[in-house]
Amino acid sequence: MRDREGESLFVRNVRFFDPAEGVSGFGNVLIRDGRVESLGNVSPSGGVREVDGEGGLLFPGFVDLHAHFREPGFEYKETIASGSHAAVAGGFTAVCVMANTDPVNDTADVTRAILERARDVGRARVFPIGAVTRGLGGEHLTEMGRLSEAGCIAFSDDGKPVATSRMLRRALEYSRLFARPVIDHCEDPELSNRGVMNEGSVSSELGLSGIPNASEEVCVARDLSVLEASGGRLHVAHLSTAGAVRMVREAKRRNLPVTAETCPHYFSLTDEAVRCHGTHAKMNPPLRREEDRLAVIEGLKDGTIDVIATDHAPHASHEKEQEFDRAPFGIIGLETAFSVSLELVREGHLTLAELVYRLSARPAAIFGLPVGRLVPGGLADLVLVDLSGEWKAGSRGYFSKSRNSPYTGSVMKGKILRTIVGGRLVYDSEGEGCG
């Protein structure tokens, strides 16, 4: 991707922390032309704008491997502008956007249009994910070469799984040419059978048709078997079940080239949330049972699950304000992901270092993105956080165009104070309210 012209900035009085690089200390940070020049006992440089970090924690900006910005085609749900704004308000400086737009991101023209729009907006860095198959139809591979050259950093038919084992095999083999991963949304549609929430005692009581754990696990098993034969790199999207975590763990033990993500809702909520949050607790994969939630946390602890992604999936209120089975799947997540994830640290499941790693350096490394590090010479994509700062989700609205979140009204810790991309202050919690 072509870098935006970087800016210069002097950030005073912060505690900077990048666990992946072993960077930790108090002081100031000098950014010149979009890159970190020096950290620590640094003096301001003449003519460079200064901001006061007020003693907050400065991390590498978060990197989201899984978001839906809905542009082109569904601008009433989200746009690249509103999605980028939501991202930086949540501390995300880089966002990988899924291909299920209209038109689908299956040609270089669409990829270039997305990148151009993101540059005009100039908040978060946007990295497009190209479709695996044309029109997400599951039948013809996209021109991955052209898409890669245009800026696609991975391939996925997300929203649905790569339709057949054969197509997945070809995609994994062919994508090796460009050393880009294939991301799969693991689901067996036959087992899901138009289910709308997790299958279990809650779905039975509510009379809603269920999506069994096996739906995800059958597909993970398929993908891992195919991967073993085909080579290439597989990234499993949004792990949600204990069985899927177990299979990925075992595959990693055998050194298969697989990585995995989960989302904050899978380790913070269970299917019980459907009772009170209704369609704002409807996503795919669905919220699972408590034992699955705990297994996902275990997976994050032992590294089976590499990263926390958001699966930010905005939908308009008229779409979510419907009968449960008619409403679309998905919730927004960019603005709450860090605070929800911070609970894992507060409950002692992860260290702060592990959390930051799984939100920045690790996702950047998986997709080979030049971001996610706070080191001299690195891109100055940074986030300033007040860990003990409390805020109420959604109380000032959301920067996202949509409001479909089960966390609205929750009081959370971990306030994003400022976000910097390429040395430019792109979000300041003091400076702006939500739209």
Binding site: E199, G200, S201, V202, S203, S204, E205, L206, G207, L208, S209, G210, P212, G278, H318, E321, Q322, E323, F324, D325, R326
Partner: protein
């Protein structure tokens, strides 16, 4: 009991009837007792009492229904309410209007109560959260059918004299049955022992937490039961792969006179209707007085009168029918 309810001036539950899950044994008994008082209205020459005069009830049925819709309509009319029936085929629903817009429009037209039947589980609760008028669940998806469970409870109490301690077998497609879900709650709450009898494909997942015993074989499941409740089998279940064929289902789970002989003496057969003759039930003519299916329909009107009155009546005592010292 009724005097107690009327004296408080407030219905014992509500403002809506969306599920039976929150109804205590006392409230359930109160509803049945109220229904008992209304039963005689159906036997008067002028089958009308003025307790809901000036109130408007809207029946909004997104699924076809004869007995439930007519039962609510007759119940409301016997209480002197005005009743409007709205069914989606003849309304703006076919023009793509959302459920929320439809019910808000109905409320704006001045409805005091809304009976809603909808194929989506949770739809009545969804609209109740967004309306001020009373909402009564007339059956939603595979979730709840509260008035059916209440009328079943009423029928059992009326015919058996009690509910507590009875063994009740619910036979059939439990997985998709709102009738079963509501009945399991009300019957177990009133002290009955509930058994479910169905092939493993039609038992809901995660059922371990329910207060029921699960049987897969009919003969074992109904042995010495006091009540057998056969559920309607949607004939498309065979196409969905839940059962191999309707005829195999009928052979394994159909209730006939031979099967009845394995029940406790004086046992009762219930069915929420409409019956697939020869599938869930065959040879009903040989059941003698053990079939309560038509009683269910008759009692359904009184039970729905009780529900409407308790929710919408506002407890105006003098308007209540003279109880004639029957209690």
């Amino acid at each position: 009991m009724i005097n107690k309810i009327l004296a408080t001036g407030a219905p014992p539950f509500g403002p809506h009837l969306l599920s039976v899950s929150g109804l205590s044994p006392e409230v359930l008994t109160g509803i049945l007792d109220t229904a008992e008082s209304f039963l005689e209205v159906g036997h008067q020459t002028v089958k009308k009492v003025p307790v809901l005069r000036g109130k408007t009830l809207v029946n909004l049925f997104y699924e076809s229904s004869t007995r439930t819709r007519s039962s609510f309509e007759i119940a409301a009319k016997r209480l002197s309410a005005d009743v409007i029936n709205v069914s989606p085929t003849q309304s703006s629903v076919t023009k793509g209007e959302s459920l929320l817009d439809t019910v808000r429009t109905i409320e704006a037209l001045g409805a005091d109560g809304l009976v809603i039947r909808h194929p989506s589980s949770g739809a009545p609760a969804f609209v109740a959260d967004r309306l001020r008028c009373h909402v009564i669940n007339g059956g939603d998806g595979c979730h709840q059918h509260p008035t059916q469970a209440l009328l079943d409870l009423f029928t059992i109490r009326k015919r058996m004299g009690r509910i507590e301690g009875l063994k009740v077998a619910i036979v059939g497609d439990i997985l998709h049955s709102r009738v079963a879900r509501s009945n399991i709650m009300t019957l177990s709450r009133m002290g009955a022992h509930v058994r479910l009898v169905a092939p493993p494909t039609l038992i809901p997942p995660g059922i371990r937490t329910w207060p029921v015993e699960v049987y897969h074989r009919l003969d074992e499941g109904i042995r010495e039961c006091d009540v057998v409740m056969a559920l309607r089998l949607q004939l498309e279940r065979a196409a969905g792969g839940y059962i191999p064929s309707v005829s195999e289902y009928a052979r394994l789970y159909g209730i006939n006179a031979d099967v009845l002989d394995r029940l406790a003496p004086g046992a009762l057969v219930l069915h929420p209707g409409p019956v697939n003759r020869g599938v869930e039930i065959s040879g009903e003519e040989g059941f003698d007085d053990r079939s309560a299916i038509l009683s269910q329909v008759e009692f359904g009107v009184s039970v729905r009168m009780a529900v409407l009155y308790l929710l919408m009546g506002g407890g105006s005592e003098e308007a209540f029918p003279d109880k004639g010292g029957k209690e």
